[in-house]
């Protein structure tokens, strides 16, 4: 309710910045199990992507999300996708439809639902897709990069800078990503009315 009030007046909570410790979660996956970041015991970090079914920008990036997971999960950076949308406001993002989409695309990564819409506001996610690259430091997950997957949603072959992959590579090399923040057009997160 509080968030509804904040959003309706345009005052969005700020969310995380690079360097902040990100909250863990316990959210329902499309396979029926609940998933937390702490479940990934051997991970060096998490590629957390606020995602959904219906948004054309997400659809444009689904194959690239799959490739990123295949390339980086073995190196310690698995993708976790989280659908932050209210499923009454956007029925195409219902849990059932998430299961269907995950099966159609054979998602190799967890696809979770933020059913109470309590997680995405803490991160400050505003759109789908919206990436938060987290580096595991001790038992904590620290925000290392926020933003876009790359610089061309329309055409994967025309990408000049793969921001996210570059950022993960930097972490793997023990370096700081540059840039740590990018922007992209995306679909507004649908809030319960």
């Amino acid at each position: 309710m509080l968030f509804v009030a904040l959003f309706s007046t345009g005052l969005v909570a700020q969310g995380y910045e690079v360097g902040d410790v990100a909250t863990d979660f316990h959210l329902l996956n499309v396979d029926g199990n609940h998933v937390s970041m702490s479940d990934y015991e051997d991970a060096k970090g998490i590629v957390l992507i606020f995602s959904c079914n219906h948004c054309p920008y997400v659809v444009a990036y689904e194959d690239r999300m799959i490739e990123l997971h295949k390339a980086y999960a073995p190196k310690g950076f698995p993708v976790i996708a989280v659908n932050p949308n209210d499923t009454i406001a956007e029925p195409r993002d219902s849990y059932t439809k998430m299961i269907e989409r995950a099966e159609e695309k054979n998602f190799p990564f967890a696809y979770l639902i933020d059913a109470d819409q309590t997680i995405y506001p803490q991160y400050g996610a505003t759109r789908t897709p919206h990436v938060f690259l987290l580096e595991k430091v001790g038992e904590e997950f620290v925000v290392a990069y926020i933003g876009a997957i790359d610089d061309n949603y329309r055409d994967a072959d025309a990408v000049e800078t793969p921001y996210l992959a570059n950022a993960i590579d930097a972490l793997l090399a023990g370096e700081t990503p540059d840039p740590t923040f990018t922007r992209a057009i995306g679909c507004t997160i649908k809030v319960r009315q």
């Binding site: 959003f7 345009g10 969005v12 948004c55 054309p56 956007e90 505003t126 759109r127 919206h130 933003g147 876009a148 610089d151 061309n152 949603y153 329309r154 055409d155 025309a158 000049e160 921001y163 990018t182 922007r183 992209a184 057009i185 995306g186 679909c187 507004t188 997160i189 649908k190």
Partner: protein, 167 residues
Amino acid sequence: MRTIVSAFMIALLLVPATLAVSAELKKSAADIEVVDFDAFAPRLEMDNDSLYVINFWATWCAPCVREIPAFDKLHETYKDKKVKVLLVSLDNPDHIDNRVIPFIENHNVQSEVILLDEPNANRWIPLVSEKWSGAIPATVIYSGSFRGFYEREFKYEELEEIIIPLL
């Protein structure tokens, strides 16, 4: 030689005809101008006595589609009071004919619509507003020294609340 000359003559005759046809096609496409960011940028800082309401939207964006009638009503109500509404579509340019134009026609949109064709959003989003994360709908309202940026959906009355004090 004669063949080459005639080919050249024919080409000369054809070129203006082709140009005329393509210009006509563009015009009939419900007057949607396709621009890159450099061509669009001046619209964000017009230096005159008008008030500008620039809305970023797309046909696939449900909240955008919901609020378009409010922007169009604003255009209809205040067009004689130096209020200029510009609807900037972020649709894929390939969808102009099968999505954007049908939408404009079906909803009888009277405001000016242009399509911004610029895939690298990270370059141009901060030039619209440093406050913009990239979610749409998003709206810029400016007049004189006032400049507002809104990453949210509007109702008609909410738009009026902002613009009336500026008129």
